[in-house]
Symmetry: C2
Subunit: 199 residues, 2 copies
């Protein structure tokens, strides 16, 4: 009996969250106890609302509160001929922050990983194929993560999509902007050299 019961229960719930250990949970719990009642209710309500009012867009499978999502809606002004395929909703957020992509997205909700028992059938690949049926899509940009699972997924999709006559591209590998060349791994440097461009 170290904590008062409501605090013990809150610490317990908070430690279920990813990356929240007992120390962080304790710090958060004591902060919440000292919040105004209104703030605590607002936080609790935001949790319930996010859970209850968010679903997957029936077109791109990104998380959304309206279906189809704001990007997939006909009047969104996006280029419907280009699809960017990403692993997770958070990757859409990262791509949108660049303001460099004007097309639509397709969220796979994972990557192929035989180690974790995730095969192509666990991902939104069937749905991606269905979207290409219309013939409206000219290019599919594969923007899965630059790691083993992401590369495997990109390779799998490339082989699957090319026969459909659609242009399939992969995000470039190379030196991250602002990095130090000496700290880059050999594979990244080799890919950067391979993809060099004339100035």
């Amino acid at each position: 009996m170290e904590y008062a019961r409501p605090i013990a229960r809150l610490v317990d719930e908070l430690t279920r969250l990813p990356g929240i250990g007992p120390k962080t949970a304790q710090r958060l719990a004591y902060f919440i106890v000292r919040m105004s009642s209104e703030q605590a209710h607002r936080l609790a309500d935001a949790i319930v609302q996010a859970r209850e009012n968010t679903r997957q867009c029936s077109v791109c499978f990104n998380f959304t509160d309206v279906d189809p999502c704001r990007l997939c809606q006909p009047n969104s002004g996006r280029d419907r001929a280009v699809l960017c395929v990403v692993e997770e909703p958070k990757d859409v957020v990262a791509m949108e922050r660049t303001r460099a992509f004007k097309g639509l997205y397709h969220v796979l909700h994972g990557a192929i990983s035989p180690m974790e028992g995730i095969g192509p059938e666990s991902l939104r690949i069937k749905e991606l194929l269905a979207r290409l049926q219309g013939g409206q899509v000219r290019e599919v940009v594969l923007a899965t993560d630059p790691n083993v699972e992401g590369e495997a997924t990109a390779m799998y999709l490339a082989r699957l999509l090319k026969p459909l006559g659609v242009k399939v591209t992969r995000m470039a590998h190379g030196m991250p902007v602002g990095g130090d060349l000496e700290y880059l791994d050999e594979l990244t440097l080799a890919r950067a050299l391979e993809g060099r461009r004339e100035l």
Copy 2:
């Protein structure tokens, strides 16, 4: 418009918590969206309950759901002649984990810090003096933090309490168990030497 609205709102609320930046808030928000509805409601409810059903014990000022708290209740089996004075409720948790202290606590809710404008009158010092009126307390252990504010608070309290005829002690300074001597600062080593004991 990078996030769906309910997710944006949750990220916003989560970043108000201490130590939670935008990246962590995003990770937590996407985790919460994928939780079962029951789990999300349980988390939200734990937040509201912790806020609404926790108050300060009217005796020791630790956070509690019953007043007086379980430790201060007459049948708790604790030694009512020894008071351990700490800065924060989390310090009670730390002390209780040692199972080495059998007395009662007094939570100051802070330490004297002229830099932050926290004077003795902002702390539960008046209430500590009131607890000593009964004459039941033989010893007050000062367990404020071993930093500038904590030391200043301990010195202040020692000067205040000694004239009342109560024994005032301070937690020992010295080498932390399991540490490396070579990495200890000079002040800690000097205090450890000063407080050496014959074996």
